[in-house]
Symmetry: C2
Subunit: 236 residues, 2 copies
């Protein structure tokens, strides 16, 4: 089983996903929010790239969620904070969802055979689901402002750690994967601090969103694995 | 002191080097070879991008060095193996030098105030020299085939470790820098193995060039720090 890791959306060409399982990682906060919504009983999340698309896709009963510049979009029901989605209000509701990088990353990987989303919150379940799909894997770190984000790399490393436990010596990593596995091994006891050191983490702290950061830093809180079917992410 | 790390030549825009000290890292093998040549008494290394340029730049007494596809270029005096340059034959000779990525990376950083080249072989001396130049630093990992190479990231992490010792809490890292520092911390006791796991390391082993790999894996063998003056790298 080969696993490649891509450092940011900028680096992702759609050809790299052909015949693969893609795992999209945007720890702060898109993929953490998505898994939280499914764990709270949302019937599915439809990722779209623009605010206009989100408004156009909304049907009766749907909720609109997402952010621009780390803030809720005017007129939307929900922002991009995982805690907002841990609520009975999302139960059985479809959510149309747009964020700066996370949804862009999901669309970039549309040529993959399977698309999953991973976060620290569901890493072990996500790695297991990917192994069960029996394809080589590409982990796409969404990043921030077209650059690598350390929290996404950390989550990629955690996924690789779990793959190693599941696939053992059959696991083949690329150079960036080796580096991200080391990042995780070095920081496994300092997950929250690592998130705080990153650019996105610092921005969230400045905006007073410490709770968001902390709720995204919990490993394996959920067993849900969001998987793209058609245009909607539902529990795999 | 701010330090940014760029993952491969592909990611380097010349604007990012403005008013900075650039440290070019191509552990296998360009920057390892360059420091070995200076340590053996070469009067200077002129990095050029193409084989044609190398031939045109040669003057009486010069040596031609470099590689294409990890092999010596036909008609050249020397390849890209550091051990070849640890020889009395290079003493007081100017070397015109071209490699696939290393020399391209040096040229990319030409807008920097200062350009140094770093390798595992001279990491501590290189970090000290950069601190003395009193600029923010950009470490450019040359990479391989336009992708990140783990040995260059490892060396970037080693440089950051040395910067930390020198600059302490005044050191500010970007997200990729944090990741590379963790890579080094995790692999500090397995430098050679890390080089062997990378794509370039595997290629060198396949070509029977284990000795090259091993001679590039030695930390702080040299105190020389190649620095660009005009078009030539000489000891800073």
């Amino acid at each position: 089983m080969r696993v490649q890791v891509i450092s940011s959306v900028n680096e992702a060409s759609s050809a790299r996903f052909h015949h693969k399982t893609a795992i999209i990682v945007d720890v702060l906060c898109a993929t953490s929010t998505i898994v939280s919504a499914l764990a709270s009983g949302s019937s599915g999340i439809v990722p779209v790239e623009t605010v206009m698309e989100a408004r156009a896709a909304r049907q009766e009963g749907d909720l609109l969620g997402g952010e621009r510049f780390s803030r809720k979009i005017p007129g939307f029901d929900l922002g991009n904070s995982p805690e907002e989605y841990c609520s009975p209000a999302v139960k059985n509701r479809r959510i149309i969802f747009t964020t700066t990088n996370g949804t862009r990353a999901i669309h970039k990987s549309s040529r993959a055979d399977y698309v999953l989303t991973g976060a620290l919150l569901n890493a072990t379940a996500c790695a297991k689901a990917a192994v069960d799909l029996r394809r080589d894997v590409v982990i796409l770190c969404a990043g921030s402002n077209d650059e690598f984000a350390v929290e996404d790399g950390l989550c990629a490393g955690l996924l690789l750690d779990r793959f190693q436990a599941l696939a053992g010596s059959a696991l083949e990593l690329d150079d960036f994967g080796h580096a991200m596995l080391s990042l995780y091994c070095d920081r496994a006891q300092s997950i929250r601090e690592t998130l705080q050191h990153g650019m996105t983490g610092k921005k969230l702290l400045k905006l007073g969103l410490r709770r968001d950061l902390e709720s995204c830093a919990i490993i394996d809180r959920y067993n849900e694995v969001p998987r793209l079917f058609g245009d909607m992410l539902i529990n795999a």
